[in-house]
Symmetry: C2
């Protein structure tokens, strides 16, 4: 019932501040018209996807993305554009991975696999071992070391399609990608295959970071496509599988220097109150990173462009930030907060878009009760844009480190139905983004930034 | 503010009928789980798009679609499946259209054009004439017969991107496709070129029905892609265009017999109260008709399948209807209402899904104030599915003819951002549909049908 209580709170709020609301709604309409008529988020995204392409931290693509988004911020009219240095991990996939299911009848079936991000590679000859399939950690523990030792563990956990919000399903299933390798290694496994975290059945394996626990051996780990997982499970059930061979060539190199990219409009009245709006600039190496998170970057640039084009000078300083290294280290977000701590300014709010460039549904926010109530007074302003689902709780990975500074964190919540289909896969390309959906997200973000810039929090 | 008043009405309703609401919300959760776990809407849509393909009224594709959706309804578990005969127009495009811009320097530029639906073709040698560009009807009238006579009129009306709901923009721009040819012919024009009704700039012309007015000559009419329209306008502005040539081969043949397809679950308590749920089976000849309206058809079949699979016997009769000929005649919808009038039953509600298989946002309904209030009591039940935008006014083309029978009309309102990009174009294919979005729409529809089946209206 929370949703409805918010709505009734809003009705009361509306009657007591009708004038401000109506001036604000006109301002937001201007923002929306500007973005739909003259927006550059879509063309910037095209550049980022097609001219820059994959941009994993430390890669040449990431370096080019830094240079190009700095240009975009200047073209958007930011007063100041600068690079904020940070060291980032440099993980490389190496030559193309390969894998086969070796059947008892001597045949081989090729597997659609990719190494998990941050994983170690196999020895140069690959690994070849018997396979144990488990549906979850409980089944793994039941098997115990005796039956896991020397084997490849195949986590065949199906993302639960019953969650309406796919991030909930992802949250559950993500444990197998994140912790699966170390938990299998603790029982003596020599390798891990994780079913791709996607609700759709297709042939595209999705990568994403795994995390090795200290004290357990670092074993090679791959994702297999959902179709591949179904097929593999069938082979096992029918007693047709002898072993699996796979070879990966990935490795973690030394840290390298990189940057967050920052573009700023100085506040007219409270320049030392900082509103941060951002997405992350790095993407996985397999994809163009269109939804994850090129969208969030170009939307944040669009916030700057729209405000400047309309001559809507914010009272508080607005900073668009392209965070580096969200995918496999969070070094950019961590560095931004570290620098912020020393800046002697007030980081009042940070808004992140990192859930895809889909139609916005609303926002989630981590704030005090009073601040939350203030945000909720603005809810009605977002109804015409279909972005009025306001929920307590939320934010974003890159802005998370700002929370100890008292910063209100807000996450843009787009419709989640299509995100997991292409997340971290080669299908996360420019063509999968709708221009209008991307723009509508930028409208919602600009409106929220504008309100906080005018009223504070 | 209507939206908020509805919400407060709902809060009151909730407190007085909490028990029923919570039983209903459990029932809807069961429906949702069933559809996301075992739904067949997506595989049925794949069949309709890939094995049947385009299915304009009277075409072999339409006949195959009738046969195959009847099969799908039987497989879904409908008690009764039958075909309801109706005559339909048979418009054929004929051989591929061609068009050129002839420049003053003697060069030719090929144009991306397609004949508008229901249009007459050109003479076998095509037409070649000077062009007058107008942005709207006002500009056409200002030109007058003197400057239009013997020319091709080029309607270069840009769909207004500022409307958040793209159907509003479509409503405005649609006048040029519908009335443009006759209004130009009334001033002596020999042909018409209409800028494609789409908010995106690309090379895909969209077809769609035009309507000749009685008493004015029927002149050939084509749509040009949005990129083509921009380019053509530039050529005209720069004085580079001498004339345009185009040739179309379409014609309207004699009416032919076809069918609506009906699948029914008989109501246990009030079998003579009929709930209709449907989409239209015909599609334009250029496309697979995935969103328009294969989606609505397979979602309606899914309503039947979900209720039967769950053993949720409806108290009132539920009929899934695949309406024939929505695109260029509405003969199926008209016939259905005509037959309904003579059936001696009560057609209490009809729900149509004909706005694409996108994430559902809510419903629009045409009903009495009392019936609307009853529908609005259910609004909270749709919040968990993101489909709680309830709006007075709405329905669907095929169910419209039922309104004089006192039938409450309800339209499913999916998110509208992507629809017009591909509407009536060759890009309206299966691959443009998200399985989860399609299923979520089916969940919302099944829930609404279930509520009306249990409580009446």
């Amino acid at each position: 019932m929370k949703q409805f209580l918010l709505f009734s709170a809003m009705i009361c709020a509306f009657s007591s501040s009708g004038h401000a609301q109506s001036a604000d709604s006109l301002a937001i309409k201007k923002i929306s018209d500007e973005i739909f008529m003259n927006g550059t988020a879509y063309s910037n995204l095209k550049y980022l996807c097609k001219k820059v392409g994959p941009r994993l931290s430390g890669s040449p693509g990431a370096a080019l993305a830094v240079e190009q988004t700095a240009r975009m911020l200047r073209e958007a009219g930011a007063d100041t554009v600068y690079l904020q240095p940070c060291m980032v991990p440099r993980w490389v996939r190496g030559a193309k991975e390969e894998g086969n299911a070796n059947l008892v009848d001597g045949k081989k079936i090729q597997l659609n696999i990719v190494a998990l991000g941050n994983a170690v590679g196999t020895p140069s000859g690959g690994i070849n071992a018997e396979v144990v399939e488990v549906k979850n950690f409980k089944e793994l523990e039941m098997l115990g070391a005796d039956r896991v030792k020397g084997k490849i563990v195949f986590y065949n956990y199906r993302m639960d399609p019953r969650y309406i919000n796919t991030f909930q399903a992802y949250g559950e299933a993500g444990a197998y990608r994140g912790q699966g390798p170390s938990r299998a290694a603790a029982l003596g496994a020599v390798g891990v295959i994780v079913r791709t975290l996607s609700p759709v059945l297709d042939d595209n394996p999705h990568t994403g970071a795994t995390r090795y626990e200290e004290g357990t051996p670092m074993i090679p780990a791959v994702a297999i496509s959902t179709n591949g997982a179904v097929e593999l499970s069938k082979l096992i059930a029918e007693g047709k599988l002898r072993s699996i061979y796979f070879k990966t060539n990935c490795q973690m190199l030394e840290d390298v220097p990189s940057f967050n990219v920052v573009g700023e409009i100085k506040g007219t009245t409270y320049p030392d109150e900082i509103i941060t709006v951002g997405g992350h600039l790095d993407s996985w190496d397999l994809a163009e990173g269109a939804h994850d998170d090129g969208a969030g970057c170009v939307q944040s640039i669009e916030v700057i462009r729209a405000l400047k084009s309309l001559g809507m000078q914010p009272k508080r300083t607005v900073r668009a930030v392209m965070f580096m290294n969200e995918e496999n280290g969070l070094r950019g977000g961590t560095k931004y907060a570290e620098v912020a701590k020393g800046e002697g300014k007030k980081f009042i709010m940070a808004l992140e878009s990192d859930a895809g460039g889909f139609t916005p549904r609303g926002f989630g926010y981590s704030a005090s009760a009073g601040q939350s109530a203030q945000i909720e007074k603005w809810q009605s302003l977002f109804v015409p844009y279909g972005a009025s689902e306001f929920k307590r709780g939320g934010g974003g990975a890159d802005i998370g480190p700002l929370r100890p500074l008292g910063t209100v964190l807000i996450g843009l919540n787009p419709d989640s139905q299509r995100y997991m289909d292409l997340h971290h896969a080669k299908t996360d390309v420019f063509e999968a983004v709708s221009e209008r959906e991307l723009n509508l997200g930028a409208v919602a973000m600009t409106a929220m930034v504008f309100l906080v810039a005018q009223y504070g929090l």
